[in-house]
């Protein structure tokens, strides 16, 4: 059934449909309505989950780890400072191979105190071992949560579904909320091979000496790489059941493009409009939406960008001293290619500053007119 709902409630519906068994979260703007709605659903009996009130995000993740270790499907949601506080336990969830799913509403980190969107909070967690998916619409949020549970449980790794504060979290648009039955068919109950059981006590996360630790890490890497195989078939199955197609990397009008704009999140959505307009003006420009950030879909990126001359990367995030994080990842994916394009890195929209069609156009035109990048980072819309 299609309904006009906000992005945060799209998450709540997905968590309900996933028959999540444990929800533990601490409120933070702009994530709050996700958990409020889940709390309502639990109270009304629409979701039969254990709803654990906690005193911090650190504890929220600790609860999810415990719940997942005991074999439950566990969910939490947070933003910004809350995610930063979880950092230690993000590592733990991945190291313990627990498929916790987290909805992360991108919000800039303080100070200056800011509740608006920016991706640095989630991208700063890139080395924790979590899968990361970035969304462009409310529909995609709902679908991504279901897919995240499925993939996470398949490879025994936690997954983060990431989307922009306000541009999606507080924005109402029509979302097709699936019926329970097809969701159950897509997402069977979580049944781990090993779980915490009071009748059969086991040690979890015990001491692992140098003799074995490295192999454990290697296993995590192997599981992460396996997502490249698991995800396409999962997307395919999802498409068959629900009629919506997704890819880890989505090219838009890239055929014959000299210049491709790489984006993520809601900027990818607005960028399509701009690319359409510029194409109408005769410019050979295409777009690339990077939906999956971890594992980084390097092969798909190389395939999409291999034949163009220039790539402009618009990052709504920054790694101080090295520029936009998506730009870095793209460069790293391309650096061993024999015919690699020039990569232009742009920073825009930090701390929720609006990224309008005009600013996207400026990015494309700037990259178009230069033969090679003049500097590592081009700032868009900076007050000078």
């Amino acid at each position: 059934m299609k309904k006009v709902i906000m992005g945060n409630h799209a998450v709540s519906h997905a968590v309900r449909l996933a028959r999540t068994q444990v929800v533990a979260a601490y409120p933070i703007t702009p994530q709050t309505q996700i958990v409020e709605e889940l709390s309502n659903m639990c109270a009304e009996g629409k979701l039969r989950a254990k709803f654990i009130k906690v005193e911090s995000e650190h504890s929220a993740m600790a609860c999810c780890i415990g719940a997942a270790a005991a074999g439950s499907r566990a969910f939490t949601a947070t933003s910004s400072q809350g995610l930063a506080l979880m950092h230690e336990l993000l590592h733990w969830a991945a190291g313990a191979r627990l498929p916790v799913v987290l909805a992360e509403v991108n919000r800039a980190l303080a100070p200056g105190w800011n509740i608006w969107t920016e991706q640095t909070d989630s991208l700063a967690q890139r080395d924790t071992g979590w899968l990361q998916f970035y969304c462009t619409s409310n529909q995609e949020i709902l679908d991504s949560i279901l897919i995240a549970f499925r993939v996470a449980e398949e490879v025994s790794l936690p997954a983060m579904v990431v989307y922009d504060a306000f541009y999606l979290s507080h924005t109402y648009e029509a979302v097709d909320i699936p019926e329970q039955e097809p969701v159950d068919a897509f997402l069977p109950p979580y049944e781990p091979s090993v779980k915490l059981d009071v009748d059969n006590p086991m040690a979890f996360g015990s001491l692992t000496t140098p003799e074995y630790y490295m192999e454990m890490r290697h296993k995590i890497e192997e599981a992460t790489e396996r997502v490249h195989e698991v995800l396409p078939t999962t997307y395919e199955e999802f498409g068959r059941i629900f009629g919506r197609e997704y890819k880890a990397v989505e090219p838009y009008r890239c055929d014959g493009a000299d210049l491709i704009l790489a984006t993520s999140g809601t900027v990818s959505s607005t960028a399509q409009l701009v690319i359409e307009t510029l194409r109408e003006r005769g410019m050979r420009v295409g777009g690339l939406n990077i939906r999956m950030f971890r594992p980084f879909p390097a092969r798909a990126v190389r395939e999409a960008l291999g034949r163009c001359k220039k790539v402009a990367v618009l990052d709504r995030n920054i790694s101080f001293g090295q520029g936009g994080i998506f730009a870095q990842e793209l460069k790293s994916a391309l650096c061993n290619e024999p015919h690699r394009p020039q990569v232009f890195g742009f920073i825009a929209g930090l701390g929720g500053r609006d990224i309008t069609p005009a600013s996207i156009e400026e990015v494309i035109l700037t990259a178009d007119k230069l033969d090679a990048p003049e500097r590592e980072i081009e700032w868009i819309g900076l007050k000078t």
């Binding site: 090993v194 086991m202 040690a203 015990s206 692992t208 074995y212 296993k219 599981a223």
Partner: protein, 561 residues
């Protein structure tokens, strides 16, 4: 318990995806990591160690906290037959040693003892436990606190006991030495009655002249005749009318003999007898002045009693030494004194008084009371209780001396001559006699051995500061010319609150801290409220010992073979 099996992975493929031990953790006996071994070890509370009568103070305070009054009373009575007396007159060294005194103020133990005993007496006279008769008879010479305590314990063990008392009534110094405003006679009578009810044969007005003559009647003897003679000052004018000793004066007052009009009373001495005499004189309408040859700091009298005496109107002159009692027509009129300064400490550790030349002064007096200390006199020797004339030898043994079944105790043997010391002496003597007569001699105060808990070894984080109970006292104006009891006792609520302040030093009260804080969950509590440690898994971190508020646990180096 399964054997710990070392698992070796030859390849990554053999390894699990995350560090999970499928075998469970019980096989991993983490106790083998232990270098230190915690254990439950109760220690001696300082109040118990300090109690001359041997009372298990901490334990009865705990019963009082739970309002288990009868049990508290029975616990005290298992050691001390005189809790109502002690609650009033003991100078409570238990409070001096109470660790709480270093934190805020000590527990008011004496007030609680009085509360428990008064209340129990009011509730129930307490049925004496019936012991099997042994058929052995013991003669006790002297009915002071030592003699009566000894009689009490022996009777409870089934021995036949006969008490010989020279005076008309039982009690010794309790009756004849302590004024009624500190110890009402009815209270004393009732506690003595409880002892006599055990079936004790009493011979008052009976002065034993020779123990050997009683040999046929008794298999053993306990001699506790106290210090019956008073020291004199050896100054001119001391002999004759108008001068008497504190013991004589207190005895006359306490036995109801008429006392002459008092007028100006000069009491000479700095001990408790001097203060008792002065305050008694005050109540008889006299105007007492106490002369003491050293300063306040050296005064042997119990300081709070001195302060009370001064509040009541007794004046105390320090560094003042009488040199002559001046008489006119035989009547005492003046006491001539010199002023002292203090010199180097003498053998007792007190600073020596040295007369200041030319410092003579005169104090007007109608009566002079000499309180210059007491001594045992010749009586114990005369009746044959001490084998030779070296009386000081009697002070060397804590447990009483015996020869052919003759045991000596009380003031005759105790290093400090207090009621509580006498009670303790009587109890220990009773145990010796019991053993001598073929009994077990097992001391009901056997807990007295052990390490005393020091203040520094407590974990004070668990004890909020709380004020000590206020002890109500008779207003000054109501004390004039009467011997009404000054201490008024406390309410049940105050008693419970005061008992609740007790740290219970060294004693487990099942607070669960060890169990709560154990990071390895190896502390188990059994249904009787005691704990045990599963050493198979205890890593010896010592948190339980640290978090024990009251040092009822110890930790030692693990000894491995």
């Amino acid at each position: 318990m399964s054997e710990l099996k070392k698992i070796i992975f030859k390849s990554e493929a053999e390894m699990p995806s995350s560090p999970v031990s499928r075998a469970g953790t019980l096989a991993n006996l983490t106790g083998s990591w232990r270098y230190l071994r915690p254990r439950y070890e109760e220690k001696l509370s300082p109040c118990i160690a300090a109690c001359p009568a041997g009372e298990r103070v901490e334990a009865w305070l705990r019963l009082l906290e739970d309002e288990r009054y009868a049990e508290a009373w029975h616990l005290i009575k298992s050691v001390n037959p005189f809790p109502r007396v002690c609650g009033r007159v003991c100078f409570h060294p238990c409070e001096t040693e109470c660790n709480r005194g270093q934190y805020d103020r000590p527990i008011a133990i004496h007030a609680l003892e009085r509360f428990v005993a008064d209340r129990a007496r009011a509730d129930d006279k307490g049925r004496p436990p019936s012991a099997r008769k042994t058929g052995k008879s013991v003669g006790i010479v002297g009915s002071g606190p030592a003699g009566l305590t000894c009689a009490y314990h022996l009777a409870r063990r089934g021995h036949s006991v006969t008490v010989y008392e020279a005076e008309a009534e039982l009690g010794g110094m309790l009756r004849y030495g302590i004024p009624a405003y500190r110890l009402p006679k009815a209270v004393l009578d009732e506690e003595i009655e409880d002892i006599i009810m055990l079936g004790i044969d009493v011979h008052t007005n009976t002065r034993v002249e020779d123990i050997e003559s009683l040999r046929r009647r008794h298999a053993a003897f306990f001699v506790a005749t106290g210090f019956g003679e008073s020291n004199r000052l050896q100054i001119p004018g001391e002999e004759g009318e108008g001068v008497l000793t504190a013991l004589e004066f207190l005895r006359n007052t306490n036995s109801g003999c008429s006392v002459e009009p008092m007028g100006r009373v000069v009491v000479i001495g700095g001990g408790n007898a001097a203060i008792d005499a002065a305050r008694t004189a005050l109540r008889l309408g006299g105007h007492p002045t106490v002369l003491y040859r050293r300063s306040r700091a050296e005064m042997p009298a119990y300081a709070p009693e001195v302060e009370e005496a001064e509040r009541e109107g007794v004046s105390v002159h320090f560094l003042t030494q009488p040199v002559e009692i001046v008489r006119e027509s035989g009547r005492v009129v003046l006491v001539e004194c010199v002023l002292n300064r203090l010199g180097e400490p003498d053998a007792t550790g007190r600073k020596q008084p040295i007369a200041i030349p030319g410092s003579s002064s005169l104090i007007e007096a109608d009566t002079v009371i000499i309180a210059a200390g007491e001594r045992p006199g010749e009586y114990p020797l005369q009746i044959g209780s001490i084998p030779d004339s070296k009386a000081e030898e009697s002070g060397q043994s804590k447990h009483g001396k015996f020869r052919n079944g003759i045991f000596v105790g009380g003031d005759l043997t105790e290093p400090r001559r207090t009621v509580a010391h006498a009670i303790g002496s009587g109890r220990r003597a009773a145990m010796q006699i019991d053993k001598f007569l073929g009994g077990s001699g097992e001391d009901p105060a056997s807990y007295l051995d052990g390490d005393v808990v020091r203040f520094e070894s407590l974990n004070l984080d668990y004890f909020p500061h709380k004020p000590r109970v206020r002890l109500p006292m008779l207003p000054l104006r109501e004390r004039e010319k009467n011997f009404g009891e000054i201490g008024l006792g406390i309410s049940p609520q105050s008693a419970a609150e005061e008992a609740d302040r007790c740290f219970h030093c060294g004693v487990c009260v099942a607070c669960d801290n060890c169990s709560v804080f154990c990071p390895d969950i190896v502390v188990r509590k059994s249904s009787d409220g005691t704990y045990s440690i599963d050493y198979d898994y205890c890593k010896g971190c010592g948190i339980c010992v640290h978090e024990c508020p009251r040092n009822a646990m110890s930790i030692d180096e693990e000894i491995r073979t």
